[in-house]
């Protein structure tokens, strides 16, 4: 297929490209002054706690090299915990400790780490090794998520999470990210995790995509991906919609994990959510964004926005539409 034909095809499918995402959505709806709220996971967490949105419990914050020594104190009552750089991107620098073995810490995938290693890691993280632009960072010490067995058959180690794109308070597209052996248990698509689209209306999974290729079954467990219903889907929609009020950012990705005991928890927000969700859903984002801009009441309460999303974004969102036909379709 020629380059031009492909280009037209993408346009017709309403695929959102990086340039358009940056130029027409991030720049318009994510004011620069609000970025720190989202880029700093600590601030996000504190805002969420204030707004009553469930997040993993905060054990402590390591802000200075000096604080590193207090790590033992912070996690004294907890066998499991997570170290997370507040400005880390795409899961870089996160260490999940799932247990102890004498003085050693055992990570989720069984590696034993000594205190010295953790100290070095924390010190690097504070110096900004994992932050964008290498700026000084803080490390969040928080509770480990006991991920719901619901996804067990669909993930290899790690914690699967649900990513919801929220456009001015309306959840427009969602996917569940399933860790694989290739991704080393991380739920990041570019590291080799499987992304599976989720029907906004019903909360059931669609087909999966791995490294840009369509996959029907999980590569490590062999379980069929499509057709799985995500528990507490309505709660997930509710908290993702409310994340708009939390930050005021118009175009965000909300990452949610499902805890065995606590239900859906917001892990973090992303002010520059990736575009791979479109591949996972086999759907362009642009059409959905246009539907929102044409007809949605952005000032409405979260419940009404979710109702709007459920009404309009049942998978698939209409046949291939030209932008001009959007109004007619939803009129």
């Amino acid at each position: 297929m020629s380059v031009l034909a492909r280009y037209r095809l993408l346009t017709e499918s309403g695929v959102l490209g990086l340039n358009k995402r940056n130029g027409d959505y991030l720049m318009r709806f994510n004011p620069r002054r609000l970025y720190p709220l989202v880029d700093d996971k600590l601030q996000t967490k504190q805002l969420a706690i204030k707004a009553g949105i469930a997040v993993p419990a905060l054990y402590g914050v390591i802000e200075t090299q000096h604080d590193i020594r207090r790590l033992g104190e912070m996690v004294a009552g907890h066998r499991e915990f997570v170290l997370k750089p507040a400005h880390g991107s795409s899961g870089d620098g996160i260490i999940v400790v799932a247990g102890r073995s004498g003085s050693l810490y055992r990570t989720i995938n069984g590696t034993l780490l000594d205190a010295e290693f953790l100290n070095h890691h924390l010190s690097n993280a504070i110096s900004g090794q994992f932050s964008l632009g290498g700026i000084q960072d803080t490390v969040i010490v928080e509770a480990m998520v006991h991920f719901s067995p619901h996804f067990e058959s669909l993930s290899f180690e790690g914690v699967p999470d649900v990513r919801v794109i929220v456009f001015r308070g309306i959840p427009v597209m969602a996917m569940v990210r399933l860790p694989t052996r290739l991704s080393h248990g991380k739920a990041n698509l570019h590291q080799g995790a499987v992304g599976a689209g989720v029907d906004i209306t019903t909360g059931t999974t669609l087909g999966g995509v791995m490294s840009g290729e369509v996959v029907d079954t999980h590569p490590d467990t062999g379980v069929v991906i499509a057709g799985l219903t995500i528990p507490e889907w309505d709660t997930m929609l509710d908290i993702s919609a409310r994340c708009y009020e939390l930050t005021g950012m118009g175009y965000i990705g909300v990452d949610i994990v499902l805890d065995r005991d606590l239900g859906p928890l917001v892990l973090e927000l992303n002010a520059r959510p990736g575009l791979a969700i479109q591949i996972a859903n086999q759907q362009g984002l642009l059409r959905r964004l246009e539907i929102c801009e044409e007809a949605a009441g952005f000032a409405a309460a979260p419940a009404e926005r979710i109702a709007f999303a459920k009404k309009h974004f049942a998978h698939p969102v209409g046949p291939v539409l030209h932008p001009g036909e959007v109004a007619a379709q939803i009129g």
Partner: protein, 514 residues
């Protein structure tokens, strides 16, 4: 709304840049090509004479109206003579005067001319000439000649051409025989033609000039008959009767007088010489601007000291390199380490040349990575670790330079110009990407950076482009306009077409397995 503002701003910038560019190109004659050379001719008139006992006054006709040519520079050389130039009805003349002179004297007039198509022929309409006076016999001959020529012609052009044919056959023509012999000079023939044309109420004059052509050395003046047909001037070669403006003809003076006149001297001899040479077009433009009194040159980059000029000749290319990066990143979608790192590496490539640059860059980064991986095991803190890498990079560069000096490999020396801080940061980021996302991604991004740097180097090194930007820095406004426009390009990137290839089946919008 914001887009409209952007389009207006971009077009304003582009129009301003291009307008200045065209003005400098068309009017001021700045060359758009680096190797552009302009053919110039040095024409020289030397007047030799033997002075008499009293004061001497030398009058030399000098070029004033020169269709097709522009005088770039002129000089007058003489010893002990006072000099003045005047405008006269026929053009311009130089006058040398001295109260007393001893022995053979020579005065020189030199002019540097170059071809200038913009310099048009004059288009003034002359009045009808007075009918010249002839004695009775001549008068009858002239009337007869005019009557016959008129019978054989239809308009001024054919009249002139027919008249010249009669004059050319001076010996056998019953009318012309009275005025001229076969051996008469072409100047005499041309002068006779103007008199007869005047008798026929047709304005005409003789201009004298030299053919420049390819020749160098002595030249002689050639007359050219100019006839006005009431609308425009027509030109005839009095000998060949060819009509039209001759090629490479530099008009020296007009009228029936001699080229030089020495008052108070004898044995006057005027010799003309032409020498062809080429001058760099830029130099011609500069000298012409000087003679025009224009300050365009004073306010260009050429007014800077040579060393500063050399710096700017590189600096003005950086926006071009950055534009290449914009295209590669936002239109193609290539990932690089650091936004402008490739531009800086490309600048270093200017000294090392491309192949060596790539080799040296790869060697340094590879060694740096090795060191960095080892440092990782020592668990150094970030800033000291970066400093270590930087130090190692500097040591490596010095080592490579010394080694290449020993092995007599010249390009190894220019490694000193590599942006070491940038390279250290690249090594750091590459090693993190390597650890976090695997070797393939790190190598891919590293390779991408190198490709972008090489492409940027190639574009920044295009000779005509760098000449163009340096001579016409206002073109950077156009670059700015283009960059502004690319800043609002929200279409897909080329690599996104590949990334979203699973959208290749639009007929099945669900795209999901059952």
């Amino acid at each position: 709304m914001r887009n409209r503002q952007l389009y207006i701003l971009a077009s304003l910038l582009a129009v301003a840049g291009l307008a200045i560019f065209f003005f400098k190109y068309q009017t001021l004659g700045f060359p758009v090509r680096a190797d552009a050379e302009t053919q110039v001719w040095n024409v020289e008139a030397a007047v030799n004479f033997e002075p008499g006992p009293a004061s001497v006054k030398v009058t030399l006709q000098i070029p004033s109206l020169t269709p097709g040519f522009t005088v770039l520079d002129e000089s007058f050389v003489s010893r002990g003579f006072g000099l003045s130039t005047h405008n006269t009805t026929n053009g311009r003349e130089a006058q040398w005067a001295v109260r007393e002179a001893d022995g053979p004297q020579t005065v020189y007039y030199r002019a540097l001319v170059y071809r200038d198509p913009a310099k048009a022929t004059e288009d003034s309409t002359p009045p009808f000439p007075e009918i010249p006076e002839f004695d009775e016999a001549s008068r009858i001959a002239v009337d007869g000649l005019i009557a016959e020529v008129r019978r054989q012609s239809a308009d001024v052009a054919s009249f002139t051409s027919e008249l010249l044919r009669h004059i050319d056959n001076a010996g056998s023509d019953q009318y012309v025989r009275l005025f001229l012999s076969d051996t008469s000079s072409s100047t005499a023939k041309a002068q006779l033609a103007t008199r007869i044309l005047a008798a026929a109420q047709i304005p005409a004059r003789v201009s004298h000039g030299v053919f420049l052509k390819e020749q160098t050395g002595a030249a002689r003046t050639v007359p050219l008959l100019e006839v006005h047909d009431g609308v425009e001037w027509l030109y005839f070669d009095p000998v060949t009767r060819a009509q039209g403006w001759p090629q490479d003809f530099l008009v020296w003076w007009r009228g029936n007088g001699p080229i030089a006149d020495v008052d108070g001297g004898v044995d006057v001899d005027v010799s003309l010489a032409v020498q062809r040479s080429v001058l760099n077009s830029l130099e011609v433009a500069e000298r012409r601007m000087d003679s025009m009194g224009s300050q365009a040159f004073d306010f260009s980059l050429f007014s800077l000291p040579i060393t500063t000029q050399a710096v700017y000749s590189v600096l003005v290319m950086i926006p071009i390199g950055a534009l290449v990066i914009v295209l590669l990143r936002n239109f193609i979608g290539i990932k690089t380490f650091g936004t402008f790192m490739p531009v800086l590496v490309a600048l270093a490539f200017r000294e090392t040349r491309l192949l060596w640059g790539i080799v040296l860059f790869a060697v340094i980064v590879a060694f740096g990575l090795l060191i960095r991986f080892y440092l990782e095991r020592l668990r150094l803190l970030l800033v000291p670790r970066l400093t270590c890498v930087l130090t190692v990079v500097v040591i490596l560069m010095a080592g490579i330079s010394v080694l290449s000096q020993k092995l007599n490999i010249q390009p190894g020396l220019s490694i000193a110009l590599f942006p070491m801080v940038i390279i250290s940061m690249t090594i750091e980021r590459m090693s993190i990407v390597w650890e976090e996302r695997g070797a393939s991604e790190a190598l891919q991004e590293g390779f991408g950076s190198l490709v972008v740097a090489a492409l940027t180097y190639v574009v920044m090194g295009i000779p005509w482009l760098s000449h163009l930007i340096f001579v016409f820095p206002e073109l950077l406004l156009v670059v700015l306009a283009v960059t502004l426009l690319t800043g609002r390009y929200t279409g897909y990137r080329l690599l996104e077409l590949k990334r979203f290839r699973s959208f290749a089946k639009p007929a099945d919008p669900a795209g999901s397995p059952p």
